[in-house]
Symmetry: C2
Subunit: 420 residues, 2 copies
């Protein structure tokens, strides 16, 4: 089964919005054994969208999913475009009109516009291709599903929450989509491995495919993330291919293979802390709260994460974390002694077993020859009182340096937890 995703929206195309819908749909489909063959992002132009949908039907993909362009403004043209691609007119769908009105009435901002505007915008959103099945609105925009030339076309709204909810409802209830999914197999042996501080060429060498032929029975994708490699494996034909690759990588890299089930490092950390009934605090300077934000994105993190101090100003390092004025004056905020004192101070101030600290020069300004942009100290304090501080010299812009610092801090803790 092959699927194509068509994302519409000038704001997406022009880079002003981070597109999440294609990623959601493709990840979902791929895990269910449907092959995403392309994602296309197009402007809000009827002709462009219609041509793309028509081309994908002509290519005989089994499923085309569109995202966006179901709103009430002049540049929302997807329903019209899909109708044009499929070669049918559009018409007001009475049931959709009722649902649109009902959903829209739930929002107070609804009544900031005139009745005339409300009627016109409701009618626009309830106008669907003739013969399409309506997908009930999650927000105010209904979607639709229709078959054309052996391809199922699914039209979904742009806001990610609405798209995801409508997709999942269609998976359950739309007869066309149920049929497509029933005809796929689950990708056997599929798993995601995550490896810390290993580069792609090391994986290539460890697998030694030229000699072992190990890649013959597996579909493998390697993705370099910040500080990590992500490998996606699935059996290709013969069962056990993914197992063999995973085993070889674990033999080669040991504990650097920190996730065998795709769990990100913050989830691995949470499992480790919860198992020990221990709690973590953070003391963040240049990362500004990024580490706390990543940890608290994990549901249930309150069990093992108490919080922390965003010690952006030196006075805050001193007053809330007890970093000695001496150390700040003599060694400077970006130094091993200050990273150490921040970690110790966070443990004490928040009363936790573990603490992570980060202090560095994120740039673009603030660097000196002695302490250049990218210099970052990461500290980890453990329940037994031991404190470890690592020095890093990261490359990249402000955001990349901050992200690298956050990732390496999380991994320092992960390793300390695993070996404690």
């Amino acid at each position: 089964m092959r699927a194509a995703v068509v994302v519409t929206g000038d704001e997406v195309l022009h880079g002003r919005v981070t597109e999440r819908n294609a990623a959601f749909l493709c990840a979902w489909l791929e895990a269910r054994g449907v092959d995403p063959v392309r994602v296309t992002v197009l402007p809000d132009r009827t002709a462009d969208i219609a041509a793309e949908v028509r081309d994908r039907i002509h290519d005989e993909v089994d499923l085309v999913v569109t995202s966006g362009g179901l709103g009430i403004t002049h540049d929302d043209v997807t329903m019209a475009a899909v109708a044009a691609a499929v070669g049918v007119p559009t018409a007001l769908h009475e049931e959709a009109l009722v649902l649109v009105g009902r959903n829209a009435d739930r929002h107070p901002s609804r009544f900031l516009v005139s009745q005339e505007t409300r009627d016109a915008t409701d009618r626009k959103q309830a106008t669907l291709p003739v013969g399409a099945r309506m997908l009930p609105p999650v927000g105010t925009a209904p979607g639709c599903a229709l078959e054309a030339g052996g391809t199922l076309v699914l039209v979904l709204p742009g806001p990610p929450g609405e798209l995801q909810a409508m997709w999942l409802a269609a998976v359950e209830h739309d007869p066309g989509l149920r049929d497509v999914l029933a005809r796929t197999g689950v990708a056997e042996g599929r798993r995601v491995l995550r490896i810390h501080d290993v580069v792609e060429s090391q994986v290539v060498e460890a697998l030694d495919d030229a000699r072992t032929g190990i890649l013959g029975n597996v579909r493998m994708g390697i993705c370099a993330r910040i500080g990590e490699l992500e490998l996606t494996l699935a059996d290709a034909g013969v069962p056990g291919g993914a197992d063999a690759v995973a085993a070889r990588l674990e033999a080669a890299f040991g504990a650097a293979v920190f996730s065998r089930d795709g769990a990100p490092v913050e989830v691995v950390i949470g499992r480790g802390l919860a198992a020990r009934r221990e709690v973590l605090a953070v003391a963040e300077s240049c990362t500004g709260g990024m580490i706390g934000e990543r940890l608290t994105a994990v549901p249930g993190s309150s069990e093992w994460f108490a919080g922390g101090v965003i010690a952006y100003a030196n006075g805050v390092k001193r007053d809330l974390l007890g970093v000695p004025r001496d150390a700040l004056d003599t060694d400077g905020a970006v130094s091993e002694p200050v990273a150490r004192a921040m970690a110790v101070g966070a443990r004490r101030a928040l009363g936790t077993g573990w603490a992570l600290s980060v202090t560095g020069v994120a740039g673009p300004g603030g660097g000196t020859p002695a302490k250049p942009v990218g210099l970052v100290y990461i500290g980890c304090a453990a329940p037994d009182g031991a404190v470890v501080v690592h020095e890093h010299r990261f490359r990249g812009d402000r955001e990349v340096i901050r992200q690298r610092a956050a990732v390496q801090a999380l991994h320092l803790l992960r390793v300390r937890l695993a070996t404690a």
Copy 2:
């Protein structure tokens, strides 16, 4: 001038990586008056990539930019695909080989693999389409530029930092790209407006295009973000069209039009604080550090942001922010009195003029009938001692609720700053 972007990579297609390159390229091009006509994301398959590049050349776009697939593993096929699309062979580029080796030698991980592996991977990365101009590597992968059928094809590496640096260097130095850009005009009157707490239908009604025809002289895109609308305007033909729309929106919505130059709310806040020589602290519970992270993403934020407390556990609210035990026991952590006390406590603990606090139920667990998922209190304490607390009931999943809370907190501060 029309441009198309082709992003390659199974990890991108399957949604495991957040794609930033297309957004960067399209935003850059659009601001320079080049029309991005599509973005296509494809798997790491030579035939698919070659077909797409060939189709775009056939469509007579002026510029095609590819991203990704220049690495050393079996699934890095972009150079070969572009050569196939253009109809030339590939060959080892001697100058590229020297640069690849030199850049690779700078990384300690280089020497974790054998000389044989290093030679083979270097040769792969230095193999370019015959006749292409080499774009010098930023990491280890060189890119290239070549003309085919009136279209300039630019091949860039996947890691965002490398792509951006190589693109900017090519803008300066590649004769083909300089020629394309010389033939564009800057989009006249182009600006980005940001409006808080206004929905699209209100903008539609305010512009009353059916009566005023105001949209006839302007290219306008509306994008709904979390809690904000983003409008991109440019003159279409006649000068002054964008000005007219901006003026009408400012008349209709007043201070809700909080950004007239595209600056995001955290930059607007920074300008306000810097002008008053005042400093901000945050006290975050359910947002976990997200607000601090957004504020510190702004270079120079240390001038007006001191840091804060991530008070995830109630004990931390008590011990670091001085929230009374009474209030926590009686009203609960998610309450107006606790939000108030957190804001007051952050001001005091960090010694700042301003403070923001957030406490809420992010979900999916933790909700009750009295305090459901999405209930969030946001507090703002000012230098004169005044404290304002707003209650919100947000809808969405954990991440959406956290993001909505962060956005509304930033806007509460923005408004308080503007009216102080």
